[in-house]
Amino acid sequence: MTTAVSTDARYDCIVIGGGHNGLVCAAYLARSGRSVLVLEAAARVGGAAVTREFAPGYQVSSCAHLLHLMPQAMIKELDLGAHGFKLANAAMPTTALSLGGAPLALGVGDSGDLTGASRADTLAYPAYTARLRRLARALHPIITGVPPRLGTDAWSDRLALLRMGWRIRRLGRADMRELLRIVGMNVYDLLEEHFDTPLLKGALGFDAVLGTNFGPRTPGTVLALLYRLAAHEGSSILAQPLGGLGALSDALATSAIAAGATIRTGAQVRRISLQEDRVQGVVLQSGQAIAAPVVISSCDPKTTFLGLLGSNQLDTGFVRRVSHLRSRGLAAKLHLALDARPTFTGLAAEALAGRLLIAPSLEAIERAYNHAKYGEFSAEPIFEITVPSVSDPTLAPPGKHVLSAIIQYAPYALAAGWDRQQQHFTDLAVDVLERYAPGLRASISCAELLTPLDIERQFRITGGHWHHVDLAFDQFFMVRPVPGAAQYETPVAGLYLCGAGCHPGGGVMGAAGRNAAQQVLKSGAR
């Protein structure tokens, strides 16, 4: 219907959104010889993988603050090392803090030595982690590849399904049965079968609910845990980039540009334009129209379909599915500028360079989760804490420190309203931290809390959810984000998705970006 204003240069592909998935997608397309334009609305690239100065002289990774899902292969293929990417810490240990006793040290990854659990649990731990690792490894190609379609006549889909089945069958009878049994379970029941130390169960269960809309007793949490492990070939080693996650995004951008891509920041897309049901290009907020036969959106599905495209361009069934997508962020981010190095009771000095958890037990996590169901934040929230300045002094002035924490559960749709409750929640969070690290409060010179509402506003993600769309069974894999758009293609010819709202989901992984690029190249669209 609309006729665009005269166009500028013409590109083979336009990528909307310069988050890490958008950048990965652009890099792979550029390397294959396509002319690519990345349009980022903010002043800098990165999306939710950015480093910002939140207080004068203090930098922090504003959303994601750890790297553990991006495969080594991708880092090598995109030559990120040559483009400025370096790790400040390549193997961070995890410690579960405790108010009533010594903290529990879980070591690095899952093959680390467990210190501080009961004798029985210490004996059971290796077999438990080894089994999960085997199961996760079998799922790795499923988690990182393009989901097959059901019911098509395409041999590629049938083959993919058979390969999936075969990979699971090759686990052997015992492991296969266990996988089929636990894949639908909740992590509370699974951990109850194996362990008795509450703090250990809390720490292990924590990873199953981090970033999700679940409590440990919610069915589907074992799948979330396997997902986390599977992305990394079976175990996830936590790492911290030098300069924060923003440095990773900058390296991705540099790599894409080196391959020939063009990146424009401060360029917000207003809509995706069609002509005769095919993508024609985009129109910016400024009014400028840019033509391209292929548009790949790394924005969340609701923004893409209902915001940028418009429901009148899609059939009602599809629109209904998209509008029903659940995107309710439950994680808040706390940033503290500290005058001194924090001292957590009982914590070994070298452990401060790692990840610290406040998740005293599965029951405590579940109780924290209960509140979120009713639009309340938890009175006793759970935390994933890092003090990145310990490994990366560039983030703070000399002798000073930064504390970065993901806090759950802080629901997007807070019944009492975040505008009025923000300070209260910040104070509550600091109270909890003070209990674990006496003296911390006095050393705070600046505190910033990003609620899911802030994350939505500042990073343009519907619902402030870092997975874009809740990571639940019915919004996963072959139906993520919705059936008919689960292989990065959409019902609109030339329009693709490449963000966290696609398979496999969020977390700084890059798989969605790479898979989307693959699909674009396969279709031969120019």
Partner: protein, 537 residues
Amino acid sequence: MVGSTQDSRRRHDAIIVGAGHNGLVAACYLARAGLDVLVLERNAYIGGAAVSRKLYKDFTYSNCSYVCSLLRPEIMRTLELPRYGLQIIPYEGGCTMMRNGGHLALYDNHDALRREIARHSARDAEAYDRYARDVMRQCRFIKPLLMREPPDPTSFKPRDLGELLYLARRFHGMGEERMYDTLRFWTMSCADFLDEYFESAIVKAHFAGSSIIGTALGPRSPGTAYVLLHHYMGDIDNTVGAWGFARGGMGAITAALAASFQASSGSIRSAADVREILVRHGRTVGVALADGEEIHAPIVISNLDVRRTFLKTMRAEHLPDEFLRQVRNFKIRGSSGKLNIALDGMPDFPAIPAGSPTIRGDLHVTDTIEMMERAYDDWKEGRWSRAPYIDMLIPSQIDPTLVPHGKHYMSVFVQYCPYRLADGEWTAQKRAAFGATVIDTIAAHSPNFKDLILHAEIRTPWDIENEVGLTEGNIFQGELTLDQLLFNRPIPGYAQYRSPVRGVYMCGSSTHPGGGVMGAPGANAARAVLRDLRKAH
């Protein structure tokens, strides 16, 4: 000891441990196939949880299960249950009473229900057609699977591969879009599923109710949407009475089964407590009763749940360690309570319009999903729900044989009530306090209710376990979650009614397709026994 010496060491073709409805169904099928079958029941009365008990004067309580909802019509026909006295009286509809005095009535008639929903929300009335159609579609897919033995997905045996292929073809036959819908349906929470259709809180709350019955889940737990099927399963059968009362109470079902069984020359011994299923040289030879008497048979079928069967009635040395470990991990947690109340007259429910037929159906008072979810939160903390979900029925309105003239019997099913309390074991006082919570909940909607109470039997999961033998009082003999369904039920690798010991089978709700007064596990188990016998010959 006296009367039993002539029976001791007597040989039968098959012994069934437990005269619950599944055990009796299995017994009937085997007897009809010509086997000499003996059913042994610990209690003085048979029926398991499908019983009618006179616990107060002349009032008959269906004191455990209370509606005949899913009894397979094939079973009713084949075993000729109507001929042996079973009469199912259908009941129409039901109602949820709202805290503000309003109500939502449920009708069997699709148009009447649509009009009623429109009273609350016109948009929801429109959506209802779509909802019913989508759920029915899932019912049609599921229905044939109930009476089939689940395949073992890890096996390459022709039977299993064949069954997997059958399932795959059925699934595939739905078409791509429907396949995705089915996957989502089986993994969604009831609350999320309902959110995709309806906007009004009361409509969603009413439909959500059935999704939590007997579970350790809340309406927001993934995996609760598929339970919504139950309400529609009966429609599929086009059988009047697929959803109704058994005349004379639930005991009439098991009485008819027993009569049908005995007409095929089956024998039942009650007050016979099986202490052990005997195993010699790797196979079963029969059972030993608590008093030491041995009864021999090459086939023993247990109607008890898996924990009771393998941990209490068999010796560990006869069973693989890994199997026992998995049995111990089988989740069978009690979450339901029951009150059975004798009333001096019919209580008033001002929220229900006078003369409305819905008062004869199932009555509820939970009017939001949040209320239901908070009730679940209480259970997780080891407390009974402060604002419980209740499923109330007054069957004496339709079946006057249950009570003296002018009086009534009310059955109240309660979610949630824990088997073990956070602050210690159940005591008489705590049980009374639980009962008081439930009675207060009802009284809030019925001003004269308390004055009419003549007697109230209060049952916690602990009571149910002790009386009926259901571990932790779990009414399904094991939770119906994805990890315990189909080829996972009860134990992966042992989902085909056969235990690790030759000759020992399982036929209770711990097996596929699970609980409810369905009879399918019993029928499927009998079929498995007969197939094995044919193969051996």
